[in-house]
Structure formats: C-alpha cells, structure tokens
C-alpha cells in the first residue's frame, strides 16, 4: 500500500513538472524595444499560466552577447531560446551554435515560407535549411523635423520632406535647411563607422552594388560604387550639411533637441520619439524611407530572429521543444505590439492587418520592405562582425574629411582580402 501511494505521489509530481515548463530566454534588447519585449513576455506568461513560463535575461548587444552564446553552447549551458541577428546566421552555422528549424517545427508553429518576405526568409536560410524564425525586419529610415522643414519651405502638403526622389532634390532640402539657420541639416553618426555601414551599404544598393560576389570582395565596379557612396557623404560634410565626429547618443540628442533637421537612424529609435512626443517634449516629427540618391530605392535591413541554440537539450520530441515553439509562434502572432518599437513585423499576416496599416510612422515606411537588402551571406558578415569592422575603420576618416574616398576604398579592399 505504502509502495502504491509512493508511486501515485511520484506520478502527480511528474505531471506537475510536465505541466509547468520554464523556457530560459536570452536577448540583447535594451532601450525602447527592450521595454516592449518585456511587456510581450509578461503577456505571454499571463496567457500560459501554469503551462509555460519565460525566464528572460537581457545581455549586452554585440560582441559580448555573441561570445557568451558561443561559450555557453560549447559547455552545454545555452538558453532554450534566444534572439539572433539574421545577418550573423552564416557565421553562427559555421560555429555550430544553432539548431536548424525543421519542417515539423514550422508546421507545429503554424508558420511557413509564405508568411515572410523573400529577403527575410533567405537571410535565415543556409544551404536550404532555416536556422531561425524572423521576428521583424529593422531597416534604417530618415527621421525629420516638420517644423524646421516647413520653415525652410521644404515640406510637402502630405507632411513629408521634399526632394526624396533624387540626389539634387535631397541636397536642395539640405541646403534650404542650412539657409534657414539650422546648424545641422542632417544628424549623422559620423564618429561611428559601424553605424555608417548601414547608410553606406544602402547607398551601394541604390546602384545595385555588391560587397561580396562569388567569394570576392568588391569585385568589378563595386569598388567604384562604394567610392560613389562615400563621395556623396563626404561632400555633405564639406558643405557643412551634416554633423561631424558625432557618436550615436549625440546624434539622437542633436535631432531630438531640434538642432538637426533630419537624421538617418534605425527604426528602433521610433519609441524614443514616441515617448518624447507623448510627454509633449518633441516637435512635430515623422519618418520615411531613405531618399533615392542614386538609381533606385534601396535600404539596408537586418532582422531580429528567434533561434534555438545547439547542445542545450531542447531536442525534437521533447516537451521543452514544444514549449519553445509555442513561445516563438505566440510572439510572432502577437508581433503587432512589437511594431510599436518601430520594427516591421516579419510575419506578413501581421503587416497585412487593418491595425497595422493605421500605425504611424510604420505604415509610412513599411513600403521599403520591397527595397530592402540584407548583408551578403558569409561568415564574415553580420552586425559587429569582421566585415562590418574592417569597413568601419575607413568610414570615420572619410566622412569627417580626413581621408580621400578613393584611398579609403583601396584600404578597405586590401584589408577585406587580408581577412
């Protein structure tokens, strides 16, 4: 009898343990979007009470995050789920830190290729296998101060800046702002080459330029296209149209304090603007797709995606895997709220919804989804990766007028091929 009772007790304990899965979660989302993700996680936990709890930790963005992931996977202490930049997936696969997302997984989550934009889907695919589930795409956009543009006489009737369709037009807007007494017509992160990579890569994309062609860096006339992009930006510096030696926080501050008329920055700064505007501490602002400086529209984008680390016991068929897939699928379905962080949800079902089309400024710039370009697929790619790093070294001197664009391109070519 005693024996039986013991067995019964054991069984109850086992079911209780099964019913409550704890999913260990790591992300690198701090700031405005981090706050929104925390609130999403709370909603998830509330909706899955007694079944699944997310135990989330936010770590430092960039090299510290990715190094920690690599180490933890090697010793089998990785989390159950983590956020990952799509641009770093080729590198991650070569390091063996990710588990593929199988067909069965996709089916279980109720998601498939059709739910994502082609560029986004390709960004998480290596050799025909997917290694992450895209949550969003986060391009860079042009933020602008309507009050200053109006004073300079460069505001369209629909409230967007004039001259977004050509280099001449955009430069006219910059010059008009300068003439109207705006100290910095454009706030640019000119002290941080890592950041400027995004702008410069977009400008290359506007000329159909490629960084990596069949394993060769800046092949053919791509070097020239890079030089064109750098020359335009250097000219803006020479004409005193953009802020020099400005680091990231200072760039945002120049814009939000009204000292700069426009700013090129990631959509992740949308929450900053929204929160300031809600407190009544910001001018009338907006955000649009980057201006066309060369042949056609093109914008650099990356994607925050969910990945399952390798070597962590979250294998197919386990209850833990079911819980992790439920987390991904639930957050993907509810990513409309994530859009308030400025990002464009990767799930096209969400972006097609009525609510999303009402959401500003996202609705204004979401058209760029068709024109976005991702990093080339290579293990040298990715935010805070080696290629990013090499190029950034020569961007800062060029953008601040210390180095000739042609020389910068030569140096970049040398160093990229020396990696």
């Amino acid at each position: 009898m005693k024996h039986l009772m013991g067995m019964a007790l054991g069984a109850t304990l086992a079911t209780a343990a099964q019913a409550q899965e704890t999913v260990v979660w790591w992300d690198f989302l701090s700031g405005g979007d981090g706050v929104r993700m925390k609130s999403l996680i709370e909603d998830f936990n509330a909706a899955h009470e007694g079944e699944i709890t997310i135990d989330a930790t936010t770590l430092e963005w960039g090299v510290p995050f990715y190094t920690k992931v690599q180490t933890s996977v090697a010793v089998g202490e990785a989390p159950d789920i983590m956020t990952y930049h799509a641009s770093r997936i080729p590198l991650a696969v070569s390091q063996g830190v990710l588990q593929p997302i199988t067909d069965a997984d996709w089916e279980q989550m109720g998601l498939s290729q059709d739910d994502f934009a082609e560029a986004t889907w390709n960004a998480v695919t290596v050799d025909g296998e997917q290694y992450a589930v895209p949550l969003d795409t986060h391009p860079i956009v042009l933020y602008y101060n309507r009050d200053l543009l109006e004073e300079a006489g460069r505001l369209n009737e629909d409230g967007t800046p004039m001259g977004l369709d050509s280099r001449e037009g955009f430069e006219e807007t910059l010059a008009a702002l300068k003439d109207a007494g705006v100290e910095y017509p454009l706030a640019s992160v000119t002290a941080d080459g890592n950041f400027m990579y995004r702008t410069i890569y977009s400008l290359m994309g506007q000329q159909d330029g490629e960084l990596l062609t069949d394993g060769e860096f800046l092949a053919g006339d791509n070097a020239e296209k890079l030089q064109n992009a750098l020359s335009v930006l250097q000219e803006w510096t020479n004409n005193e149209w953009q802020s020099t030696y400005t680091d990231y926080p200072a760039t945002v501050a120049l814009f939000t304090s009204g000292e700069a008329g426009m700013m090129i920055n990631g959509v992740w700064e949308v929450p900053t603007m929204k929160d300031l505007a809600d407190e009544g501490r910001l001018f009338d602002w907006g955000a649009v797709e980057l201006p066309i400086i060369f042949d056609h529209a093109s914008t650099y984008a990356d994607s925050h995606a969910f990945a399952i680390p390798a070597n962590n016991g979250v294998d197919e068929g386990t209850a833990k895997r079911d819980a992790v897939l439920e987390v991904i699928s639930w957050i993907s379905e509810n990513s409309l709220f994530w859009a308030t962080a400025g990002h464009i949800p990767a799930n096209s079902g969400v972006t097609a919804s009525e609510e999303y089309s009402q959401m500003e400024p996202n609705a204004t710039y979401s058209s760029l989804t068709e024109n976005m370009i991702f990093d080339p697929q290579s293990e040298f790619s990715g935010v805070a990766g080696p290629m990013f790093d090499v190029m950034s070294t020569y961007f800062v001197p060029t953008l601040n007028g210390e180095m000739d664009p042609a020389e910068a391109v030569e140096e970049i070519q040398y160093e990229l091929n020396d990696m």
Binding site: A74, Q95, G96, T244, Y245, D389, T393, V396, N400, M419
Partner: protein
C-alpha cells in the same frame, strides 16, 4: 624534541599543495595552452564543426605584415611613453607637496588625490566623456566661451592617446602618491636637520638627499607602472566604443578583437605570446637598469 625532517617536509608540501594546484590550474595550464594554441589555426572555442589545425609558425610569420598588429604595437609603446615616466613624476611632485602639509589638511588633500583611484574604470569613462564629448561636453562649452575651436578629442587619432594617457594618470596616480609618501616618511628627519645646519638649499636637498634615498620607491613605481601600462586595455576600449577602435588599437585590445570579434583563437594566442615576451624582456631590462642606476648614486 627531535625534529622529524621528513615529516616537516611532508607537512610543507601538504600546506602548499592547494596553492600549487590552483596556480597550476588557472595560470600554468592556460599559459601552456596559449603557447600550443598559437601554433594552430583554431577558433575561439573548439566545438562542433570547428576543429583546430596545426599551422606551424604561420600565426607568427603573419604578424610583421599585419597592419593592425603594427598599429597596436606602436600605440602601446606610445602610451607607455606618455604614462610611465610622466605619471611617476606627477605622483612624486604631488607627494612632495602633500608631505609638507600636516594634520587634517594633509589627510584631506591626500584623500582628494587618492579618490579617483577607487573609481571603477566605467565611471572614469563617463566622467571624462561628459567633460570632453565633442557635442555636449562641459569643456567644449568652455572652449566656445574662450573662442577656441572645439576639438573632437576622443574621435581623432592625434588626440586620442594623449587624452587617454592624461585620464589614466589622473585616475591611477593616487596609488603611486601613497607609495612615495611612505618612502618620504621613511627618510629620517635627522638627515634633513643636518643638511639645514650645513646651509643646503632646497634644490640641493632634493637632489642630494631626497632623490637618492627615495630611489628604491621610484624604481618600484616605475616597474609597476611599466607592466600595468603595457597591458592597457579598459580605458582604450571604453573611449573607442562607438568611435574608431581600429585606429586606437593597443596590444591587449587587438588580442581581444582577434579572439572574440574574429573568432580567431590561434592568431590571438600568437599576439598574446608576443606581448608576454615583451612584458618579460622589458621588465627584466627595466629592473636591471634601475639597479644599475641605484649602484651609481
């Protein structure tokens, strides 16, 4: 009682065993591993598809042509030049001043000079970024008032190293001041009284008495500073975040970059070995030179 020599030895071994074990585990073993790694084309962490391969001396032969290694090497040398001797002299001058004060005033002034030393490097970075930031730094507003052009101090390669060296001296000289003060107090006052009776001037007293008697301390401070500054990393890393790290590379930063950013454990280890040898050679050389100087005086 008859001492049992064998038992004594055994006890001695048992007593030092924990230390030797820990020292072996966290110092000797990693050091040997670093040497081995430096002859391999190895990732940062050996796991999954990545396996290290023996490449002989490749990681070393690449270094002379490696531009970043050159930058890191010369920047480190420049930084050592800017901090070691100037930092020691500044600390000596301040200590000489403090030693003239007495009582509470002395304690207060000493505390003021020592205070920066207890700050964590992140706080030091914040303070100086607030002061010298190109757009919003307090000092820049001062420049504006004085009609001087603003200087993007941490964003140009001309100003970066001197500025970081200055901040480092400000931050760390408190400790050297303490050492000098202890040294100054150890000099018997009778000697100074005798010099006074002989009508010796201040400069003569310093040159003939204080300086030679303080020399062992000066040599110690110089050696500590030299080793510390050869291994400079934190300040350079923090002040170049969001800026131009590759123009400001120093040796340890380059090791970090190769290992963690480029996932290149082998090449990182080779640079670490080079730095290891430099530190050994330089500190032995430094020590011998200083001993030589001591004998002369």
């Amino acid at each position: 009682m008859i001492r049992n020599a064998r038992k004594d030895t055994l006890i001695a071994y048992v007593l030092i065993a924990p230390f030797v074990a820990i020292y072996g585990l966290i110092f000797v073993y990693p050091t040997i591993d670093m040497f081995i790694l430096s002859f391999q084309d190895a990732p940062l962490i050996t796991f999954g598809p990545q396996t290290p391969e023996w490449t002989g001396l490749d990681n070393y032969t690449r270094l002379p042509d490696d531009r970043r290694f050159g930058t890191a090497f010369w920047n480190t040398a420049y930084f050592v030049l800017l901090t070691v001797v100037p930092g020691t002299l500044v600390a000596l001058a301040i200590a000489m001043g403090i030693t003239r004060l007495s009582g509470r005033l002395q304690a207060l002034v000493l505390a003021l000079f020592f205070l920066p030393y207890i700050l964590p490097v992140s706080v030091v970075y914040r303070i100086w970024d607030w002061t010298l930031n190109f757009q919003f730094g307090i000092a820049m507003h001062l420049f504006d008032v004085l009609g001087i052009d603003r200087v993007p101090i941490f964003k140009t390669s001309t100003w970066f190293m001197p500025a970081v060296a200055f901040v480092t001296i400000w931050w760390t000289c408190g400790f050297s001041i303490l050492l000098f003060l202890a040294g100054l107090r150890a000099i018997p006052t009778e000697i100074y009284e005798a010099a006074e009776l002989d009508n010796a001037g201040r400069w003569t007293v310093f040159r003939k008495l204080t300086w030679p008697l303080l020399w062992p301390i000066t040599a110690l401070v110089l050696t500590i500073q030299l080793i510390l500054q050869l291994k400079i990393f934190d300040q350079v890393y923090l002040f170049s975040i969001g800026g131009r790290p590759n123009d400001n590379l120093v040796m340890v930063y380059y090791i970090y970059q190769r290992a963690f950013q480029n996932d290149d454990g082998g090449r990182a280890a080779a640079i670490a070995v080079v730095l290891f040898l430099i530190v050994i050679v330089v500190s032995v050389l430094n020590f011998q030179l200083l001993r030589l100087a001591e004998r002369k005086t």
